[in-house]
Symmetry: C2
DNA sequence: AAGTGGTCTAGACCACCAT
DNA sequence: TGGTGGTCTAGACCACTTA
């Protein structure tokens, strides 16, 4: 990184590089602030500024008196950071996942573009049905670049006791740090209606979502259909 | 504010109070950092931490070498902070507004709850059609608490050369700092279809949006219908 | 040249947690 | 008690804007 960029940006970049390289694993504490400051040749104030930004990006988590930890893709983390769908009334709940389809295929033009891989490259195609409080609410049609997830089998996918992103992290060391969702309205097709127990006409949210790890590398793209009779996608603009 | 709360939080709170009270107007520069630090009895570092948070919340804007300014509801600001709808391809554009309806009424239960006013309190009911690059894309059904916007007439609403939020700010000193949007899918009714030039069935986004000023006071609630054949609602999760 | 915000330092002291 | 992060200070120097 260029010499003119501020020291705290360079420190931040080095921390991210260490995370990407697997130097510090998710859930673990990173070294203390004074240790890191010395290691990077910065003052504590500068080190803290770098860490401040990584905390704001949900990449690190500070715990007063305990240490600073690499964010782990727990259920709570997923719900708080990456899950925007809430019941019309009452608190957010965690979705229960049911596997509907799992096969291997090749990237079509749209998938290839979103995953930044060549058209025709091998992908995993996974379809899941998500329930919230027992109700069928979401259908996900997931595409993963097969190269990033070697040996991911249906059994391994099912045999996790964590979120999908948690699986990426635990089994492949891939941490999702950001997702971009493009939301439109559509009528559910017959297959989606069957999965969501809807009668035509069946207006649903159609969400194209791509997940990225460090360095803006895409790792997962999916088309998600959401039944919104009892639920809402909640978006807050003008941060707090 | 309690004595135990950190100084930078108290400073931040006092700055927001000054803004709310109209001590510093939108678009104006606030005093320099050293001046403010002295005034609040804090060091520059502490003052900067307070201002940092207000900048992150889009309430203040720093300009290196010029000063720190109260965010003004310009078109660009609106587009960047509060407008999430973009064409499927190409850059975001600014919407052109057409007034469809303007009348006075009383708050129904739902509106009253969202605006935190009594049911039956006087409201303004405004309906607008928004075009993007000439295409009809959005219908807004707005409810404003009449008490906050005395003497707002159809003419005054039309005779602005700014955004709706800009009008609130310039004419009433009310600054929108945050909006919460709840998004669902629906079929457009006949009137909405007519405004958006849609044929049935017409799946659209249905967005319930409430805007807040300082201290979480609601000032505007609206139901927005969005035609998404050429556009998308874009949401980024896991901030950068 | 003067004033502004941006970066950085080298501490001090406090609050919290584990042992 | 020792280590951690959280707050706060009182500067220094740099980069940018305006006059």
């Amino acid at each position: 990184m260029a010499d003119r960029t501020p020291l705290y940006k360079r420190v931040k970049h080095e921390i991210v590089e260490a995370l990407r390289a697997g130097r510090w694993k998710h859930g673990q504490a990173i070294p203390g602030e004074s240790t890191l400051a010395t290691a990077f040749g910065a003052s504590i104030g500068t080190l803290r500024k770098a860490v401040d930004e990584l905390v704001a990006e949900n990449i690190l988590v500070r715990q007063h008196g305990r240490g600073t930890f690499v964010a782990s893709h727990t259920r709570d983390y997923m719900l708080n950071v990456f899950f925007a769908i809430a019941p019309r009334k009452g608190p957010k709940t965690f979705p229960e996942t049911e596997l509907v389809g799992f096969k291997r295929g090749r990237a079509d033009v749209s998938t290839a573009k979103r995953l930044q891989i060549p058209t025709g490259a091998p992908v995993l195609a996974i379809r899941t049905l998500l329930r919230l409080a027992g109700q069928r609410v979401i259908v996900d049609d997931i595409r993963l670049p097969a190269g990033l997830f070697p040996d991911l089998t249906e059994h391994a996918f099912l045999d996790r006791d964590t979120t999908v992103y948690g699986l990426y992290q635990m089994r492949y060391g891939i941490t999702v740090v950001r997702t971009v969702e493009e939301i439109g309205a559509a009528l559910a097709d017959a297959r989606t209606r069957a999965l969501l127990a809807l009668e035509p006409p069946a207006p649903v949210l159609r969400i194209e979502r791509t997940a990225y790890t460090y360095r803006d590398q895409p790792v997962d793209t999916r088309v998600r259909y959401v039944r919104t009779s009892q639920h809402r996608y909640v978006s807050v603009l003008g941060k707090r």
